[in-house]
């Protein structure tokens, strides 16, 4: 695998940091998650909860909500299973116990990379800041992933995905003209921040290979997002056209180059939609032909793409009159057959149960651990011919139970015997 021989000691929690080590794990790095039984990762204990194997009905769509007892079970939090594939193993160590800190330093000494997503200064307070790490592992690549980063006037601020989305302009860019932004209903920037966390880890490994030198790389959740808004920054700075202006953002209508018709159109069924986007004359003609060449399509208001964009308010209802009587996938397939970009608006159930492309590409990998039923899980969605990534990482395993690997990891990496591990556990070091 691409990251054969790379070991990551991983203190990340929640989504942002865990996304980064998930990627590295899927690419073959050995990832050891350091966790706490007394302060579990919030996504281990918050809903949605994975049902007990026995609660499962005919397929997951029929599964019932887990019972309340699941709420305190650190192995049932559903979001954990999104962010902790990649063959991560889990150990529990109390960093606040002197012997726990000593164990962690021993683990740093045998690790290539250390990752964490605590508030700035947390590891220093434990006695495990970058300088302490370097003292035991000179060339360690230390990647911190913290909302506002470790420096700057607002470094103490906290983020979740929607915070970072608001501050970086991404929330602003989802909305209909002249209405408040609708924004994202999920943490897009937990993913993006994590992608850049993975880039930082890989960049740090490249630098170390070339120079033998480690470093601290400071990843925030803000900087990874600023280039996502394309030309809008330049348009404002150079053309004096700020994004906060009447008629902007433009909903689903694309301007550069214009797409018309372009948008989500109602299909048959309850709240079902299909996206269609025509930028070229050939695509428009193919769409018209598929709709049976209705007379209105020859209206001069719709003669060129510029005309169609200028008269989109007139055009869109006519398109929708055609789509709304049809199934979204039928519309998609009929238009794709003639080269028109079109796609059903799919939700999670659709991706899992109706999307033949994801199925054919092996997008989901079904895995279980000792407490949860087989789950279709996601990893790194790229295909590499010589070093194929795997959603179960190098050990081909589902996300770990809390502390599942404590004894194995301390044995393998530090040479501790079962008796020594038991003694540490009895002292409360492994909690």
């Amino acid at each position: 695998m691409a990251l054969d021989g790379v070991r990551i000691l991983d203190f990340t929690r929640l989504g942002f940091g865990a996304q980064a080590t998930l990627i590295c794990g899927c690419l073959g790095a050995e990832v050891v998650r350091v966790e706490s039984t007394t302060r579990p990762d919030p996504i281990r204990v918050m809903p949605p909860y994975v049902p007990e194997p026995g609660e499962q009905g005919e397929g997951f769509g029929a599964a019932t909500l887990a019972n309340a007892a699941s709420a305190v079970n650190a192995n049932r939090g559903g979001i954990f299973y999104k962010y902790n594939t990649g063959g991560k193993r889990s150990i529990t160590v109390d960093a606040r116990h002197p012997k726990g800190l000593a164990l962690l330093k021993d683990l740093v000494a045998v690790s290539d990379v250390v990752t964490e997503s605590f508030a700035a200064g947390t590891l220093e307070r434990w006695g495990l800041g970058y300088e302490a790490m370097r003292a035991v592992r000179e060339d360690v690549v230390y990647v911190s992933m913290c909302g506002f980063g470790h420096s700057g006037p607002d470094a103490a601020h906290v983020t979740m995905g929607p915070t970072a989305q608001a501050l970086t302009g991404l929330t602003f860019l989802v909305g209909l003209p002249d209405r408040p932004p609708a924004g994202w209903s999920f943490s897009y920037l937990d993913h993006v921040g994590g992608y850049l966390g993975a880039v930082a880890i890989l960049a740090g490994l490249h630098h170390r290979r070339r120079t033998g030198e480690g470093q601290h790389i400071d990843v925030s959740q803000l900087e990874p997002a600023t280039a996502l808004s394309g030309a809008l920054l330049l348009d404002a700075a150079l053309n004096g056209r700020p994004a906060r202006r009447p008629g902007f953002p433009t909903g689903n209508r694309r301007q550069h180059p214009p797409s018309a018709p372009g948008g989500a159109y109602r299909a048959s069924g309850d709240d079902r939609w299909v996206a269609i986007s025509c930028r070229t004359e050939a695509q428009w003609q193919a769409l018209v032909g598929t709709m049976g060449s209705p007379p209105w399509a020859a209206d001069p208001r719709f003669a060129t793409v510029a005309d169609r964009a200028a008269n989109a308010d007139d055009l869109d209802p006519l398109i929708e009159a055609w789509t709304s009587a049809r199934d979204r996938y039928e519309v998609m397939d009929a238009l794709q057959a003639v080269g028109v970009p079109a796609g059903a608006v799919q939700d999670a159930a659709d991706r899992l149960e109706r999307d033949p492309q994801l199925a054919a590409r092996g997008h989901f990998t079904t895995m279980a651990n000792a407490e949860v039923p087989p789950l279709p899980l996601e990893g790194v969605p790229v295909h590499m011919s010589a070093t194929p990534p795997h959603t179960g990482g190098r050990i081909r395993r589902a996300p770990p139970l809390l502390g599942e690997d404590t004894e194995a990891v301390l044995g393998e990496l530090l040479g501790l015997g079962a008796g020594e591990v038991a003694a540490l556990a009895a002292e409360g070091v492994l909690s």
Binding site: A2, L3, I23, L27, P48, T64, K82, P153, A156, V158, M160, P162, L167, T168, F172, G183, W184, S185, F186, S187, D190, Y195, G197, A200, L202, A203, G204, H207, R210, I217, V219, E223, T226, A227, S229, G230, L233, L234, D235, A236, A237, L238, A243, R254, H256, D270, W273, A275, S277, P341, G343, V345, Q346, A348, A349, P356, A360, V382, S385, A386
Partner: protein, 393 residues
């Protein structure tokens, strides 16, 4: 720390990248250039499609005036090549090729992986296409809107339903988020493949990136919600507060993180004299609070009326709440925190007699800093230079 003389090296110094095809992979090359690679945008005589797309400098079209091209091609060089034999020679002289060609086009032009690897076995070739190289939709076409629809982001974004159900469509974020996610994954895969190549005495490989798959994996907990409960996430905005200036603040109140969250929020509200009934000790009980959350929002709205959005954002953060003022993309330029971290860089466009601001380092790596070495290239600006350096021509 040892002080090295001269500028610090970048992680991909000396790595040659050819970028070929349409605009959908340009964000990948931008990232590799930031890591120090010598990224050459190989263009047809009319230029990359993004050179034809606006907005344009001064609203005057022209291949060297497209701000869309500028945004995603900063740090690269440009070579015009309309002869595929020359394109193949450039690829053979590179370490990495990132392209957007469908299998049939790549084969017809002698640019399939097999052709390229025959000339340069160590080459890392990455094809970024809408649906990947295989599968029933492999020949389907898509733009970013279609990818956001199929991937699931769109179904989960939009306005809340009215009394008779949803009266507005699902919405996709502007500015090509599915393509950018796919391009980022392409960069990650290239970085991994280069590490492996260097560790295996030069073994190259082919990377197949499907933008659809990348887009499908970025909706956080939605798949798990469906797996766990059978429920599908419906669209609707996150909570916001309106400051006294009419501007909005994203105002999450993550009670699930522990009792300290409400305790500190209450302190903030009491300090402003707007806590009202929340000061009743009954509100310390999460169950009571959950049943009466409307009172929490009433108090927060009273707070919001007293402060402009920027101040409200900072008040919330002062109480440990993950609040953020909703900025437009260009308003981010004025963020004092990012400015202090040196995030935005000005690059001189000497042919226009002015500088332009660009987002800089996506992370701070002191030993191997992100680089912004070149403004975006003019069409064909480096054709002769790169031919001489890479091909000895």
């Amino acid at each position: 720390m040892s002080a090295a003389p001269g500028p610090a090296p970048a992680p991909l110094d000396g790595v040659r990248v050819v970028e070929l095809g349409d605009e959908s992979a340009e964000y990948c090359g931008r990232m590799l250039a930031g890591l120090g690679a010598d990224v050459v945008r190989v263009e047809p005589p009319e230029g990359s499609p993004s050179r034809q797309a606006g907005p344009f400098l001064g609203d005057e079209p022209g291949p060297d005036r497209s701000l869309a091209f500028w945004a995603d091609n900063v740090g690269k060089r440009s070579v015009v090549a309309d002869d595929d034999a020359e394109v193949r020679a450039l690829c053979a002289a590179a370490d990495v090729v990132v392209h957007t060609l469908r299998p049939a086009e790549a084969a017809a032009r002698g640019l399939a992986y097999e052709d390229l690897a025959a000339a340069a076995p160590g080459l890392v070739v990455c094809a970024l296409t809408p649906f990947g190289q295989s599968g029933p939709w492999a020949d389907y076409v898509a733009d970013d809107l279609v990818l956001m629809a199929l991937g699931g982001s769109m179904a989960a974004c939009g306005y809340a339903p009215g009394p008779d159900g949803y009266d507005t469509p699902p919405l996709a974020c502007l500015e090509d988020q599915a393509w950018r996610t796919a391009a980022t994954y392409a960069a990650i895969a290239v970085l991994g493949a280069l590490l492996w190549r260097d560790g295996t005495e030069g073994t190259g490989q082919f990377i197949d990136v499907s933008a659809h798959e990348c887009s499908a994996s970025m909706t956080e907990w939605h798949l798990m919600t469906y797996l766990c409960s059978g429920a599908v996430h419906k669209r609707g905005p996150h909570p916001t507060l309106t400051g006294s200036d009419g501007r909005l603040v994203a105002a999450l109140t993550p009670d699930f993180l522990g009792p300290h969250v409400f305790a500190r929020m209450l302190e903030m509200l009491e300090a402003d004299g707007v806590a009202g009934p929340l000061s009743d000790p009954a509100f310390a009980d999460p169950a009571h609070r959950a049943a009466n959350y409307r009172e929490v929002w009433r108090a927060l709205k009273r707070l919001a009326e007293r402060h402009d959005a920027e101040a409200l954002y900072r008040l919330g953060q002062g109480a440990g709440l993950p609040w953020g003022v909703i900025r437009s993309p260009d308003e981010v330029l004025g963020d004092p925190h990012l400015a202090a971290r040196g995030h935005f860089v000005e690059l001189e466009h000497e042919q226009h007699g002015r500088a332009a601001p660009y987002p800089g380092a996506p992370f701070l790596a002191l030993a191997s800093p992100w680089v912004c070495r070149r403004r975006p290239p003019l069409l064909g600006e480096h054709t002769h230079e790169v031919r001489a350096e890479w091909l000895g021509a």
